[in-house]
Symmetry: C2
Subunit: 212 residues, 2 copies
Amino acid sequence: MKLHGYFRSSAAYRVRIALNLKGLAYEQAFVHLQKNIQLSADFAKLNPQQLVPALEDGDTLLTQSLAIMEYLEETRPEPALLPKDAAGRARVRALAMAVACEIHPLNNLRVLRYLVREMELSEEKKNQWYRHWVETGLQALEAMLVSDPRTGSFCHGDKPSMADICLVPQIANAKRFGCDLSACPTVMRINDHCLTVAAFANAAPERQPDAE
Amino acid sequence: MKLHGYFRSSAAYRVRIALNLKGLAYEQAFVHLQKNIQLSADFAKLNPQQLVPALEDGDTLLTQSLAIMEYLEETRPEPALLPKDAAGRARVRALAMAVACEIHPLNNLRVLRYLVREMELSEEKKNQWYRHWVETGLQALEAMLVSDPRTGSFCHGDKPSMADICLVPQIANAKRFGCDLSACPTVMRINDHCLTVAAFANAAPERQPDAE
């Protein structure tokens, strides 16, 4: 398999964790987002969305990190990234989407660029925007975790799942932007626990060959 | 089943279509987003994310529209909202997420409110923002559809799937905000075809009891 990603992309980071957890070997192709390589005609042929990650599995080309994780789960079921019961699976997916649909889309590179270049926001306002959505979103995630007895050492019980895979890259970004995480002790406890697992630790941006 | 939604929420609209396609009866509870009912303590107990939709299935409470659709697919498999093959399932999910993770999160009510109230954008700038992300996102969706022979009368072949379920509510919003859809003929052809199907047509915002 070949992963087209970027060390700092949280969506690529998710896929790296998933591949590591499943023990799957992959090579990496690096798409330098700051240099706009994702906007090149060559990359658009690979992924018309002009976003990373894209994963090649033989002749199958996959995009969208959550869709890639579901594909890996269906084609390489063990170890599982979702629980067995439908209600538990729905919970894990909802936790993952509380990050992937509510926080991350508001704060990725192209959105931050657009806020500054086209909406003419100051750097200060842009950072306020960033922190607002991260803090609001993580507080919602905290409430979801605290209110449910299925929360364990990981988001759902004592095995890592798609929810943890989305949580960890989001916290890395939150720290980079100086967000206030004091209202999210459960989220942070789980994040710290995940980072003791090699599959998570080895996927970290700073450990990638293209890290700057 | 009981769906907590709002006529104009596209995420609730998705779940209405999915329930209709599967022929499942449901009652509706109406959460008036403009009146901030989703921010009430009572609703927060139901969904700590303070977002619609939430679906009650007996004692199981479900949130996040895509997670709800996956749950319905697992518990009521027929008619299927995903194809059988892993590559096809990944494609449908990626198409759905091209809307649900790349377009819709940037344009929902709370984001538009924040842009005006906290980022102090003018109404004109806010509308520019809205149209930019809808048009950019739908053009990416168009490219994904046009470049793939699996596209049929629906997004994937000739049966409705999760991709169509995400597409139709997004187009309804795009039209409401006067977005330019001329670059997306395939998206529009599929949208128009979906709306000939009762499950889609009956889920439309204007047909809901809480429509204004």
